[in-house]
Structures are given as C-alpha cells and as structure tokens.
C-alpha cells in the first residue's frame, strides 16, 4: 500500500513518498521516512515490504559508499542504477526474494544531467521522465501525463505533485496523512517541506 513518485526536470529530480508504516490493518507510524541517500547525488525511494526495504536500501547504501572509499570518487548514476538492478535481479531468483520497488533519483555530476530510474522488484529498469510505484501510480500517472513538461520549474513540479496528492486524498481508499519530499540537483540532496494531505 506504499506510494512513491518521481518527477525529473531540466536540472533536478523531485522524489516524494508517503510516510505510512503499516502492517496489515495496523498503522504503526505516520511519519516514517522511507527515502535514503545512497551518496551525495543519489536518492532512493522504496516501496513494498518494509523490512526488505530497509535491508535492501542500507545494503546498497553501504556498498555504494564502499565504492567511493575504494576508488576515491562517487559511483555514477548509471553505474549505481545498474548495480541496484542486478542486486534485485539476483534476489528475485534466490530463496528469499526482496519485495522492494525502487525509484532512484540521481544527478550525474559529470554529464550534468538529472536522471530518474524506475526499478521494479524483479530488476526491470527504465530511465523515465516521471514515474510512480504502488496503487497510487494508477491515479497519478494520468495527471502527470497531462501537466508534465521537461522544462517545468521546481514549483510547477511540486504543484503537479500536489494535484496527484489531492486526487489520492479524494479517490484512493488508503489515507496518506503526509508525504516526504526531497529533491536532487547539482548541489546534492535537499529536504523540502512535507506535504500534508
């Protein structure tokens, strides 16, 4: 019942995620952060099984940091995305597959391009201008299709994001009280104000 959404602009990528931590019918926490910085310019938003998500994200974060320690430079966005993809592709055919869907927001400091990767729990990967995971995606993608343009500003992207949240509030059975929003750009990863639905 998680929801994550990403929108890529000219020089930024905005990622937003719901903050519910639930198990079956019990809502344990309403301000749980499910996004993790993998390095200075990589942000991972995960949906799916909560425990798997934490294990997966922390494992990936530590290995991407290790790459940086060993080599002296950050892992590039494309390399990190493919590394994460392979990790999930190996996991799906293992004894205990990880049930984690990922949106990876990245800023490639060498080519000076923002990137957004959609990686699902089986290891299917695509580079996308915008994407969403979870049931909320079915409500949101049409809205973003209507209003998206590559040249939109951050404020415009946030207003489109808010339109999606209004729609979820109105028509989606799960009540998301607030959304965690972060942006990745050339300066790094920044926390934006939470959107309270």
């Amino acid at each position: 019942m998680d929801f994550s959404i990403g929108i890529k602009g000219q020089d930024y990528v905005i990622l937003a995620e719901d903050m519910n931590a639930a198990h079956s019918i019990i809502l344990n926490q309403q301000d749980h952060t499910k996004m993790l910085d993998l390095n200075d310019h990589l942000l991972l938003a995960r949906t799916g099984e909560l425990g798997d998500g934490v294990q997966c994200a922390e494992y990936l974060q530590k290995n991407i940091q290790l790459y940086q320690l060993r080599n002296g430079y950050e892992m590039r966005s494309n390399a990190a995305a493919n590394y994460i993809r392979k990790y999930l592709a190996d996991s799906i055919r293992s004894q205990e597959p990880m049930n984690v869907n990922i949106l990876l927001a990245a800023y490639d400091t060498i080519s000076k391009e923002p990137q957004l990767y959609y990686i699902d729990y089986m290891g299917s990967m695509a580079t996308v201008p915008f994407a969403a995971h979870g049931h909320g995606a079915l409500f949101s993608l049409g809205i973003i299709d209507r209003y998206y343009s590559r040249s939109m500003s951050r404020d415009e992207a946030l207003s489109v994001l808010k339109k999606c949240i209004v729609e979820l509030k109105k028509r989606f059975i799960v009540n998301y009280t607030s959304f965690n929003v972060q942006v990745v750009d050339s300066q790094g990863i920044h926390q934006l104000d939470r959107i309270v639905a």
Partner: protein
C-alpha cells in the same frame, strides 16, 4: 496472466537484399500500466549484429549483459568479430544452462556475416532452441499477429 505477458512486446526481424531489418515496439509496461514509451529492447552486439530481447524486461537485461560478456571474451580471444552462426550457439548455450529455471526472455538476432556480408536472422525459445530464418522471425506477445502480416507481405530480395 502468464509471465511472458507481464511486460509484453512485439519483435520482428526480416531478411532483404543484402540487408536485414529488426523492429521492436518501445513500450515498457507492467501488465495494463504503461511505464514508458521510449524503451530500448535492441542491444548492439557488434558493428553489424543486433539482438532484440523479448519477454520479461529484467531477464532481457540479464541475458543481453551476460551475452555481451561472453561475446567480448570471444572477440578478445579470437581477435575477430563473431560470426552469426557461432553467436547462435553462444545464445543457445547460455539459455540452456538455465534449462530447469529458464530466463523468460528470448533473443531475436539480426545481422550480417562479418566476412561474406550475407544477411542472417534467428529466433529462439526460452531454453535455447534456435530457428535460423531465411525470411522473417517474429516474437513477443504480438508474435502471431506479426507472423500473419509477414506471411502476407514478405517476398524475397526486398531492398531497404
């Protein structure tokens, strides 16, 4: 829904006069939802050798990466570009290694022989049975529909 239909695709390869053509759809979907409409399914393996991967996208990436790895090692050892018939054996071997837990993705090869320039196309099933085509190969969820179109319109020695 079958695993082959989870992502869905349409692939067709055709032989022409001293040329081959390979076409794929560019939809990346998850069941009824479309994620992106500019998805690349074709992977270049050599200057005149292309492989299009059908079926499950995660396996399409995995198989094409493993194939490229083996191809690179071959070309480093042999110091020459791979010929299509050898490449077919390579693909077949890679897929059969997973006979009892197969990849849900099948390649369609289209290329020209590096020495003779002769057009070459081939298709496979998910465990590596090769079908070397003299006219056209179709694959994917729209495979049968494409087969019908090809049967109607294809004739030998079509120019590009």
């Amino acid at each position: 829904m079958s695993i082959d239909e989870y992502n869905g695709c349409a692939i067709v390869a055709m032989v022409g006069k001293d040329c081959v053509a390979l076409a794929t759809d560019t939809r990346f979907g998850v069941q009824r939802s479309t994620i992106t409409t500019d998805f690349q399914r074709v992977f270049q393996m050599g200057p005149r050798l292309f492989v299009a991967m059908s079926g499950l996208v995660t396996d399409a990436y995995t198989v094409s990466a493993r194939l490229k790895y083996r191809l690179n090692l071959y070309e480093l050892r042999e110091n020459r570009p791979v010929s299509p018939s050898v490449f077919v054996s390579m693909v077949s071997n890679l897929l059969y290694e997973r006979r009892f837990g197969p990849y849900f993705s099948t390649p369609v090869i289209a290329g020209l022989d590096p020495t003779s320039g002769k057009p070459f196309i081939a298709g496979f099933d998910c465990i590596g049975d090769p079908s070397i085509g003299s006219d056209f190969i179709t694959d994917g969820t729209a495979g049968e529909q494409l087969m019908g179109m090809c049967e109607t319109f294809w004739r030998p020695d079509l120019n590009k």
